[in-house]
Symmetry: C2
Subunit: 318 residues, 2 copies
């Protein structure tokens, strides 16, 4: 793979992971189209294996490893979907995954990761604790580290969702995706720019707007302390994802917490799809008129659907 992934890398990734991933449906919803004043095409990565697009990148990374490298296993740190994705992808290849998780991670998430056969190493909640724990795992096992987003194989894998979306709906004017570490939006931008005139627009919670700041400044800035319900987007961009975003993404838009919850609820009620708050962020930008795309054909990557059903952000009637 070259310095930066190309559309050819995304196409090769699509071929490599095809036996393992769901080709997720693209769904439409008249009620949402009317609310937005545009035609919206939802690429349902919430229906992907492990409930998120992350399985694409993890699969591509793991099935790109050489035979010897693979026997040593893979390792990562994650408190969320990437850990589960890496664990399941490793199981598919028949190799060991090691996942470093903060002690404070939810039991549900740890059980999911362990359920896919990964070995979990817990660590303290600081970045330094986490990095030291991962270093130790690698020293002990020789496992290859697969970063959640700052990895060309992962970026190319995430781009396959947009590739499938554009194969199905070629005439899109805009493709939107949420921005966390930037793996999804950069893969999406690579896949889109090569085969379509569609603009790529990233959306970020206002409470975690490091990508917006970096995009405005034209250089990678450190993020502040993120505060948002969209737990998948509390990460800052990486030095591999930012340059791609800078070159290929048309705009980054920010949304409020209220708009995220409203968009999530609207999606649940109108489409009958369970999406996590992070996945609601692009639609939030449309519903809350943070960007006007009236009359356009808009593709949205619904990034995931992993949420605790006992902690929903909806009021409750007696």
């Amino acid at each position: 793979m070259s310095e930066r992934p190309t559309s050819i890398d995304v196409e090769q990734a699509a071929e490599r992971i095809a036996p393992f991933v769901h080709r997720t449906p693209v769904l439409t919803c008249e009620a949402i189209d009317e609310m937005v004043g545009a035609r919206v095409f939802l690429k349902c990565e919430n229906l992907q294996k492990i409930g998120a697009f992350k399985f694409r990148g993890a699969c591509n990374a793991i099935f790109s490893l050489g035979e010897y490298e693979a026997t040593q296993g893979v390792a990562t740190h994650s408190s969320g979907n990437h850990g589960a994705a890496l664990a399941l992808a490793a199981r598919r290849r028949g190799i060991q995954a090691h996942v470093v998780m903060p002690e404070i991670s939810s039991q549900t998430k740890m059980i999911a990761v362990a359920g896919y056969g990964a070995k979990i190493t817990t660590c303290g909640k600081n970045l330094a604790d986490r990095d030291e724990a991962l270093r130790q795992v690698v020293e002990d096992t020789g496992a290859t580290v697969i970063h959640p987003f700052n990895d060309n194989r992962v970026i190319a894998g995430q781009g396959t969702a947009a590739l499938e979306l554009l194969e199905e709906i070629p005439a899109l004017d805009v493709v939107m995706a949420p921005v966390g570490g930037g793996g999804l939006i950069s893969g999406t931008a690579i896949a889109t720019s090569s085969r379509s005139r569609a603009r790529v627009i990233g959306v970020e919670p206002a409470g975690a707007d490091d990508a917006w700041k970096s995009f405005q400044a034209g250089e990678l800035l450190a993020g502040g302390a993120p505060e948002t319900i969209a737990d998948g987007l509390r990460t800052g961009l990486g030095d591999m994802t930012f340059p791609i975003i800078k070159d290929l993404v048309s705009d980054i838009v920010r949304v409020s917490e209220e708009a995220i919850v409203y968009a999530m609820r609207t999606t649940w009620e109108r489409t009958k799809l369970i999406i996590e708050p992070s996945a609601a962020v692009p639609l939030a930008a449309l519903l809350d008129r943070q960007i006007s795309l009236t009359g356009h054909n808009i593709g949205i990557i619904l990034s995931g659907g992993n949420i605790d059903l006992e902690r929903l952000p909806f009021p409750r009637k007696p």
Copy 2:
């Protein structure tokens, strides 16, 4: 249309309604397959327009009307999905729908039906009040009554979901659907028996088991007072649906309320699909081992996804 709908009626219905309905996806979920010990194919009618298969039958009935008949409008009684389905189908044909609803119906449901352009007539909660209100509407308007299930055009329309399922997955051993008034299961049985060796199995809440009793007795029996969370299945069979069920359905199985809620929650968590309690009933029979179909290819019609998000039957963490 003949005395009883045939597979040809279902095929004609499919052609008639194709421009108006979603061809819903058929999804699979490894986690559910493992739990059940079989391969389960979910026909996602929760993703259908108005959030339920009912739109198929209503569309077929309305687009089967002659020109003059159509100009008089259509009428029905419903406190649930059929009212919304008829309202939207009538709007598609550009005719008026009249829906008789009990005064005690939820505001949400009335708003939905009115939102699709139907005229609502409220009535008391007794059957006699309802029938009188509907009779009056018909006398005043000349509208054609479209019964929620005891109607050949509706039965044939409901069968199109199974038809699509079998087109996509021909090698099914079993097709399962919930049983309320019997429109879905009888349409499913007609569609399935003509093109497949698959057995058709109906599933009913134990608290609303009139179909099971009639099936065992071999004659149509009146139901008792239904008590179940599956609000779509609180209806008794009709004299047009029962004979079809008697001839073409292999078995009817009953499930507990606990099993329904567990199956609903499992579906939400594992497939990321919002389904209403009625739609969870067939999977409840499998997860709760009320029937053993180990190793089989099982198609399930996920009948709908309309549920009040502020009244979910899940515990709530602080």
